[in-house]
Subunit: 427 residues, 2 copies
């Protein structure tokens, strides 16, 4: 391991913190490639690591369930996968059984939820969001507005680029015309974390419904949708839930909102899917928001990651991720700010998720040098930001120090010049 | 193997046909479980078999691409999977590169396509379909009608339960009010196969757009979407394409219809997905109809099945499947009609896909006895139909004889009484 310059000495020793970490053992529940023993993976906020249990499960689903049992597997667990795993995931987000199901992807789930909300608030024509929200969310909210009617519009409240614009949102809610407020709980770029309960209460006070995107918070930040009386939420399962690339999204619909109707009702969300009835009714709980046949393999592999979150516990995970990001920011202040980096995430850990964004004028070159020369994987967001994600199930305190040390080495060793002409990596 | 009663002797010998079958070798491209050597799987019209190549590919995607390469795999092929495999599948359905992409499931794709079509035909308010269509399609078309506006409605033209109601459709198209005609190319229950080109021409003559559901025809029936000038089509990849349980659907949008707009536009369908721009434009070809992140594992596994179809060739596959269903119907006439079965599929092979439906008053009991006592898997469709699917890549002529022989044994051996109280299997 590299050594950080001396100034880091006022921080507790990383090795000692790792030795005392009650979650340290979870690192071994994930696959770490033998051919890259020095890899520091700080992009779990984009794609989580592969749980060891998912390797055998994938083979089981493909070879035994599909290959041997064939169509019979639909009777032997496949049909209930979206709701059964949803019920388990409900335990991660403070929902009740029957309120969470795996389905589609986040954007399609968001569309369904937004249209349902707009239809439940006739006479109100505005959807509020902010400019910290993921672009696809804003695009999809606009699509939902178009589906709801010609008078509907999406209002994007501006922020300072880092912190959620609470005052702006509250001002827009004043006039009684807002049907829906939809925000990312944790902002994909800055890591800003909304006070989910307080915002939800304010939205309800204004007579609107709330729809949270939990993509960047589920599995990293404790969430209690029930206590906050959230109406609707969506999220992905491939970041901190470690469900695999493009694994299905989840949709939460409060049991207190039976009036919400799936705008893309299909056979999988009907009350009797195997009656093959054109006029089938709708299933009673969140499963009424399902539409078509789910991707079984990608769905099944969500479960091991959910199991790990439940076993670790969200409070312990949050405590560790805060400790990791606090340590990282302290080291950034000391070692990277003098080298041209600037913090672009909230400094208060209560206002921050599990990733940290840094500005650098040559962010792309730094990113490519880190990946290709130093075996550190953050991610680059154009035009000039780097995101470092600290997934608490598998990132160590020593990884934080090492990532900063290697970033120092990139800057001091000419890595920026070597990678100045790099093309952006995706996604 | 069982022996059929003597009357079958005017048919060519099954073993000889299998020996002469130019596609016989493709059977070995699929996994056949050693613990059920006598299994006759006639439900490839619901879930196709597991290609041998998919076993290694699943491990590769999970262990190497996800586990080792992690986020970098998005740059190493994942991002293009929906369009790259779509371009290959285009070769199966007579489309051009850029006209087919894997996405979502059939129902969600159908919704997108239908809403897009309705928006492209302002002033016309009716959607035509028929009662042979899959119930989820009718439900989703109604959802699309609701999204398009309060005046829109779905008209379900009645059939005789087996044959497509062409005259009824033509009559409904007379008045210039039809925006969209959406039909299943091959009907899921009776196996009726529409003349895709002729119906498309009639729909265009009436000034409407056409949207074909190819779920039960793709991989079984030759399709030339380009020659027929089809506007829109959707289909699944888990039946005759052998893509795996719930593998993503595909969406075809004609290159001649650039005016069609994805109603659920999201980041994956934008012209610059990694610019993270709220106002991103839309991609130029079918990829503009993509919405969110695709399920990578379930998407990747579609490719081996597509490869097998391309290698076998749709004309050879069709010739064999017609031979299989013709043989089956001849044996049904001789051995099963006297035992209470009735053909509920078109007798003319030109009007039929690759599955055959039979009525029996105790169809569920027959189905369960076949599955549980005789190791034959057809499927049951309530209230009184059995479907037998003859996927030409892996069903043998001998399997046809054997399935009929075992059905005879079920009926003559009291199987119906033993399974009279069975619950329906799904799906």
């Amino acid at each position: 391991m590299s050594q950080l310059p001396d100034g880091a000495s006022d921080l507790a020793d990383a090795a000692a913190l790792d030795a005392a970490d009650p979650l340290a053992g979870f690192r071994d529940a994930f696959v770490h490639a033998e051919d890259e023993p020095d890899l520091i993976y700080l992009d779990g906020n984009s794609l989580g690591r592969l749980p060891v249990a998912s390797v055998a499960l994938a083979a089981e689903v493909v070879e035994a369930q599909w290959g041997r049992r064939l169509i019979r597997s639909w009777n032997e667990g496949w049909f209930e996968l979206p709701t059964r795993i949803g019920d388990r995931l409900a335990g991660v987000v403070g929902a009740a059984p029957g309120e969470v199901a795996l389905a589609d992807n986040t954007s399609v789930c968001l569309y369904k939820a937004a249209v349902a909300a707009l239809q439940a608030r006739p006479g109100r024509t505005r959807i509020l969001t902010d400019d910290l929200n993921f672009p696809s969310d804003v695009q999809v909210l606009r699509a939902a507005a178009r589906a709801a009617g010609p008078d509907h519009e999406v209002v994007v409240v501006p922020s300072d680029g880092v912190h959620g614009p609470l005052d702006g949102l509250l001002a827009e809610m004043d006039d009684g015309g807002v049907a829906l407020v939809s925000l990312s709980h944790v902002a994909y770029m800055s890591g800003w974390c909304w006070d989910l309960a307080a915002v939800t209460a304010a939205v309800h006070e204004a007579g609107a419904l709330v729809l949270w995107d939990l993509c960047h918070s589920v599995g990293a930040v404790p969430i209690d949708l029930g206590a906050a009386e959230v109406d609707l939420a969506v999220g992905c399962t491939y970041k901190y839930v470690n469900g695999g690339p493009g694994s299905p999204a989840f949709l939460y619909v409060s049991a207190d909102r039976p009036e919400l109707v799936n705008p893309i009702a299909g056979w999988y969300g009907s009350d009797d899917p195997f009656a093959f009835d054109f006029d089938a009714g709708r299933a009673p709980d969140v499963s009424r928001f399902l539409t078509g046949t789910p991707p079984v393999l990608s769905t099944a592999l969500v479960e091991p990651g959910v199991d790990l979150l439940l076993e670790a516990g969200m409070d312990r995970l949050r405590a560790k991720s805060v400790a990791l990001t606090e340590r990282f920011i302290a080291l950034v202040d000391e070692h990277l700010v003098p080298r041209g980096f600037e913090l672009r995430s909230p400094r208060d850990p209560d206002l921050r998720g599990a990733h940290v964004s840094l500005f650098h004028p040559d962010a792309l070159a730094v990113d490519q040098a880190l990946i290709n020369e130093e075996s550190v994987i953050p991610d680059f967001r154009p035009p000039d930001l780097l995101r470092f994600g600290f997934a608490p199930l598998y990132v160590r305190y020593a990884d934080v120090d090492e990532a900063v040390a290697r970033t120092v080495r990139v800057v001091d060793g000419g890595g920026i010049d070597r990678w100045r002409d790099a093309k952006p990596a995706v996604p």
